[in-house]
Symmetry: C2
């Protein structure tokens, strides 16, 4: 029950859409703020725009230092000058998702009356996130994106972009994701939400009124989620049964390195993420089910003009290769143009963020091929 100050307010670059957005739940959310970053230059034909969609706890700082953490961009190994998504050639856009906590409208942002949305923030879906991004893309005068790329929840957004705005997406790369959240995925999210809800510093979602944050609960939520991002092999390789500063089990607490690593993951996370935002976004992921939205998965991509690049990682057990194969089968059934690669990696779901040269080369080739086809 430590008192931790809410993280500092940063003036994130943003656009405001006065008319806002009609959400799937029926609420008109207006005005709508979308915080974003761009890299590279939009060409005269406005044909070189690449949209990057971030994952659950990601943000718009895809290729530069994150202002709160001081850490490098989360996909700085993939997006930049001369990289797979080459910012010397392409105009890259990355927006903080609707419901997020890095400047876009979400539970941590203030309403017109100056109070945060908190638990009054409406329920949102992945499609709502995509509609918010569409407003931003439209505001740049971009009629069609050269490519939409994202991993994990970012991949869900990519799929939703292609299904909802097929004429606006020339090429789509859903990475390490699935057409729906599985029962096991939902179950792990539910543990995290239960941990947040059971933290007395949650104060029924109005923790800011107390000058507190539910740090313990949010930390536990991050700990369990973090395990699902790593493979069993990766945990064994990194930590195994290594002991902390001891040669033998000393019968004290926290004897294993993996324990302190996990606790660090939990405690550092709470300094950069809002608990209500976490609840809102995990629910949006749980609701995601492209088949249910469209009657069938193939129907979601029927007559799509979009070309797809689907990638999975062999040791990813959160979004296993079988889920990507199901996507590819549906795209094939819809006669879509699709290429698929399973990257051999022992790093688990996290691999999509890490140095995986084969993945970077394959994705880079896909984007370059799309650019060539469009004459960009």
């Amino acid at each position: 029950m430590s008192l931790i100050q809410p993280f500092p307010e940063v003036d994130h670059q943003h656009a405001v859409f006065a008319d806002g957005l009609m959400l799937d739940c029926g609420v008109q959310l207006a005005p709508l703020t979308v915080a974003y970053r761009t890299y590279g230059r939009l060409n005269a034909a406005r044909s070189n725009a690449v949209l990057i969609c971030h994952a659950l706890t990601g943000d718009q700082y895809v290729a530069e230092t994150q202002p709160l953490t001081g850490k490098g961009g989360w996909w700085a190994n993939l997006v930049g000058p001369g990289l797979a998504v080459d910012t010397d050639r392409f105009f890259v856009i990355c927006a903080n998702v609707l419901g997020g906590c890095m400047g876009s409208t979400g539970p941590a942002e203030k309403r017109a009356d100056g109070t945060p949305w908190g638990t009054d923030f409406p329920t949102i879906t992945i499609r709502d996130m995509v509609r918010a991004q569409k407003l931003l893309v439209d505001s740049f005068g971009i009629g069609r994106l050269l490519a939409v790329i994202g991993g994990s929840m970012g991949g869900m957004q990519v799929l939703e972009w292609a299904a909802t705005f097929p004429q606006s997406v020339f090429a789509a790369a859903p990475i390490a994701c699935a057409s729906h959240h599985s029962a096991q995925n939902i179950a792990f999210h539910e543990v995290g939400r239960a941990a947040i809800h059971s933290d007395p510093d949650y104060y029924a979602g109005r923790y800011w009124e107390q000058g507190r944050i539910p740090a313990q609960g949010l930390g536990v939520a991050r700990m369990v989620a973090h395990i699902t991002y790593l493979s069993e092999e990766a945990l064994t390789r990194k930590f195994g049964r290594k002991l902390r500063g001891a040669n033998a089990v000393t019968f004290l607490e926290d004897v294993f390195e993996v324990q302190s690593y996990l606790r660090y993951q939990g405690s550092s996370f709470v300094r950069r993420f809002d608990a209500n935002s976490y609840l809102t976004i995990t629910r949006a992921m749980d609701y995601f089910d492209l088949s249910a939205e469209h009657g069938s998965l193939a129907q979601a991509f029927a007559k799509t003009p979009t070309r797809f690049f689907v990638a999975s990682f062999s040791s990813d057990w959160l979004f296993p290769t079988s889920e990507s194969r199901a996507l590819v089968r549906a795209m094939n059934a819809a006669a879509a143009r699709v290429s698929f690669v399973e990257i051999k990696s022992d790093k688990g779901h996290d691999a999509f963020l890490l140095d995986e040269p084969e993945f970077h080369a394959a994705l880079g080739g896909f984007v370059a091929g799309a650019a060539k086809a469009l004459g960009v």
Copy 2:
């Protein structure tokens, strides 16, 4: 932060050992109480005794109604008259583990001064649990057990019995277990412990003084553990994305059946299990590493006279088949007599407790073979 009364005191059948036990951590624990149940009759030669070792949250009520929950015995489908472990033929013993909360000495039990051990309870190991069981077995005048059988943490105890008291174990059946707890196993336990520690009703482990129990934290710990007991397939088959009393996502909380199922698992668990006991036993599991204890895994079984039956379940990702195969390789290297079976099942780790006819037949055959070899 609901106030929940500690679970009622039950007078469990037990034996008291005045001299107690020297623990691995160097503490002499005396007197020592071992709560236990027996089924069937010990023959005149005392050669028909089968010891069953229970898992993390199991107890001694292996083949009869559990007095607190009113539910049937946890292995009532395997242990009983005419069953794989036939109580018409064998004298079956099952003891609550040291550190448990069903009557054996543990954090929830009172010391001589009338106060519970609580967090003063010493750190224990799987070997300590086995030493406590050995005292009980000796008290029956049983020099050698016909068989020692257990799954999950029960399987760890079986391995420890064979390694520590090889002359006392004719046949050993470690089921759905491993020679050590992996980094991922430790990580999941650590999430559960963090959830308990962060519950304000934990009161630094002295919750009984407040008339409270850390129900929220223990519930979250159970929720995350429960996910690891089930396979992804089992969760999908049982729940998939089924909704609670609704035909479509209604944008309310708890829309999915898997959510309410998990919450029920958490809330029912706290009525039958002590939080300090959970912390103590999960740590014992984390410490377990037979190779480290003996220099190598093969060394743990060097010149063993024990015959082994190792079984795993194909969809068990907590103790995957690869871990059982590693056990079998070490037993082979030690020239031990060992048979191994991987049971095809989509039920995950939990399969060892469920109706798995192939498993029951194989284990029953192993026990019958051992009995025949001994002329029982």
